[in-house]
Structure formats: structure tokens, C-alpha cells
Amino acid sequence: MVFHHFGKYILLLKSVFRKPEKLSIYKDEIFREMVEIGLGSLGIISIISVFIGAVTTVQTAFQLVSDLIPKSVIGGITRDSTILELSPTICSLVLAGKIGSSIASQIGTMRVTEQIDALEIMGINAPGYLILPKVAAGVMMIPMLVIISIFLSITGGYLAGTASGAVTSVEFIQGLTTNFNPFTVTIAMVKAVVFAIIITTVSAYQGFYTNGGALEVGQASTKAVVISCIAILAADYIIAQLLL
């Protein structure tokens, strides 16, 4: 059963990357999706990022009970855990819920109302027209959201740490700027791109093969979120294992 779905998923991806009928129409669709995925998710990503950073700082400070460890370590730990794990992974899990369910229900509704059949009858490559702009927009916008999230998360950590007295401003900035390895940002970007592909394609697959009516569209949407989340966590482990 799993192999059957995986095979169908690969075949769908093959259709997605066929040569577009008219580039100008695809370009417009990509811009529209970029606004929806990027700007549309900026609010929620900003809010969760600030809190992720704040919680990381406060909890790291709580665990550093030894006087032998300098408080500046808190800044370093917040920076690395935010860049390597928290921003790319938690943001992508949230985006799987927000964007993934939207993609699955949008395409699923088009399927059950015969709009996809109408596209195919016109001679349009429906997977390409419907899915390719979403994948392209996701791959461009999700890494940008992750970068914004990293900055906001570190800012949140700084504010929470200094406001609670867990760490001073100087100590936090010292920790932040000491032993920085730029490769961690590369890993974050690799994760963001892979997660973007997972979110958009898995959700589109669930929507594209919806059968039935409103109930099935809802189920496809739920499945899209659940499978995307599991795939993101699995991919997170594989990337960490391969690149670190």
C-alpha cells in the first residue's frame, strides 16, 4: 500500500515537472502563491519564533546551574539550537498545518467539483498548472521565512533572557558571537528547501487524488498535515545525520 502511494506520488511529480504550456501564466501563478505562502504566513511565523527563542533562553538558563559554566553559553546555545533545529523544523511543522491543509483542500475541492477534469479536457497539464507554482513558491518563500524566524527567535531569546535577569545583555551577545559556525546556516537552508518540497508536494498529492465530496476533502487535508509532519521529522533526522 505504501509503495503504491509512493509510486503514484513519484508519477505525479513527473507530471508536475513537464514543460509548462505558457510560461507567462505560470509566472503569474508563482507570484500569487509566493504572496499567499510567504506574506500569508509571516504573522504566525513571527509570533512563534519570538516565543521559541524566549523559551529556549529561559530553559537553558534554568538548566545551567553550575558556576563553572559562563552565562554567555546561553547565547550560543540559543543561537545554535535556533538555527540548526528550532526555526527550520518548528516553522515547517507549523507551515505544514497552515499551507499544507490549504493546498490539499484547495486542490481536493477542485477535484471533486470537476475543475481538474475541465483543465485536462482543455489540454492543460493539470498537475503542472496546479502544483508547480506552489512548489516553486514554497521553495523560494519557506527558506526566507526560516531566515526571518532565526532573527526573531534570537531577538526573542535576548529579550526574555535580559528581562528575566537570567543573562545580561553583554553575556548574551558575547555568547551569540563566539564560535559561530556559518555551516549551521547552510544546514538550516537545506532543511528549509527539503521541508518546503515535502509540504507542497505531499499536500498536493493528497488533494489531487481526492475522491468523493466535502468529507473526503476534509480527510485529505488532515492526511496531508499528518503525513507532511511525519515526513518533515524523518527528513530532519536524515539531513542531520548526513550533514553534521
Binding site: 504550456e21 470537476e114 475543475q115 475541465a118 485536462e120 479536457i121 482543455m122 489540454g123
Partner: protein, 249 residues
Amino acid sequence: MIDIKNIKKNFGENQVLKDISASFKPGVSTLIIGGSGSGKTTLMKCMVGLHEPNMGNVAYDGRDFTSLSFEERIDIRKEIGMLFQSSALFDSMSVEKNILFPLNMFSNMPKSEKRDRVNFVLERVNLAGKNKLYPAELSGGMKKRVGIARAIAMNPKYLFCDEPNSGLDPKTSILIDELIQEITIEYNITTIVVTHDMNSVMGIGEHIIFLHQGQKWWEGSNKQITATYNKELNEFVFATKLMETLLKK
């Protein structure tokens, strides 16, 4: 001209279409009728390539459609217009954008010419001036007419209509039937209508194919249909009291 030969279609163990062959002429509306589950819509979907038949072939003016790949089918698909049961209008687009969609995708007409074409087809379906409305703002009959306008925007050679009268009142149904008939004759289109509406059968049924349990059970015209003795056909035709009463009179 469309020719179908020995079409068979199974869904798992269930054989939905059993060896169906027929010819559809240009300038004539062919009605495919039959009870629910008789295979009408499946046959239409096999003809347009939304389902792949397990056996048999479909030829558009001698071009074998079933043996072609997706890319090779595009040229034939550009010559096909289809009106769906649910109208299948793109609900995020206005009426104008719905009709413009295939034109934008496949034609290199200048913008003004495309707009003229949209206005022309909207006028043809008696919806002039409704360009900016969205599908949610249209009645069922208007949606069907926009569906027809979108289907004929590219000057199709073949028009497929899946239950064009479902969910419509009798008066609007007659208007839609008349519109399909007029367009078929005016542009010499090969039109295939899937329906179980006896009003359509009696109104525009110049060529009728009756399906029963996935087989072609009877073929003829509306002039012959009430005069033919065929148990299953008669049961279908005289299922409504209205038909029975009219015939007695």
C-alpha cells in the same frame, strides 16, 4: 466525426462498459441515454480521455485518440469543448476569466481580440454584460450557459455535455437544449450529450443511443423511440407518468 470501437471498461471486477461501438456525425447532437449506473458518463469519460478504456479505441476524424500519449493528445483536446454536470467553472475566476482561460493558454490572439471573443460567446449564450460576475453569483442555468460559452470559446469541433439539464427547471432545461442544438448546427460540431431527461430526448434527440447494463441496447431517433418495442427501453422512456399520459392522448 467520432468513431468508437469495442470499448470495454472495468473498475476492478465490475465491468461497466461492454463492447460498445458507435459513430457520431458532425452537425448532429447524439444523446446517450440510460438509467443511473448504465455507463453513460463512463463512456463519455473514456471518449475524452478522462478514463482509459481497457479495450477498444476512440478515433477523432480518423485519428486514434486512445493510442496517443498525453502530449500527443493535446492537439485533439484543443478541439474538444466540454460542459460538465457541475459546470466545473473555476470558482476563483470571474466569468470573463473563465472563458479567457483556454484562450490565454493556447492562443496568440491580441488582448482586444480575446476580449471580443469573450463578449461574442457570452452574447451567444445570452449572458452579455455578465463578464465580471463570479460563479458563486450565478444561478444554475447561468452557470451551465457560462460552461457552454467556455466550451465553445476555442471553436471546438467536438462538444461533450454531461447531463446539461440536471438540477434545472423544465423551462431552463429547454433553453439549454435549444442552445446546444443551435450551436451544433451553426458551427457543424459533433455533439454528444449524456442525459436521462426525456424532455431533451423528445426535443433534440435526432440520434439516440440507449445504454443498459453497460451495453448499447438500442440506437435510433426520437421519432422511433416511442414506437419501438424493447422492454428495457420502454421501461426507461415511459418511467414518467407525463410521458405515459401524453402518449395515451
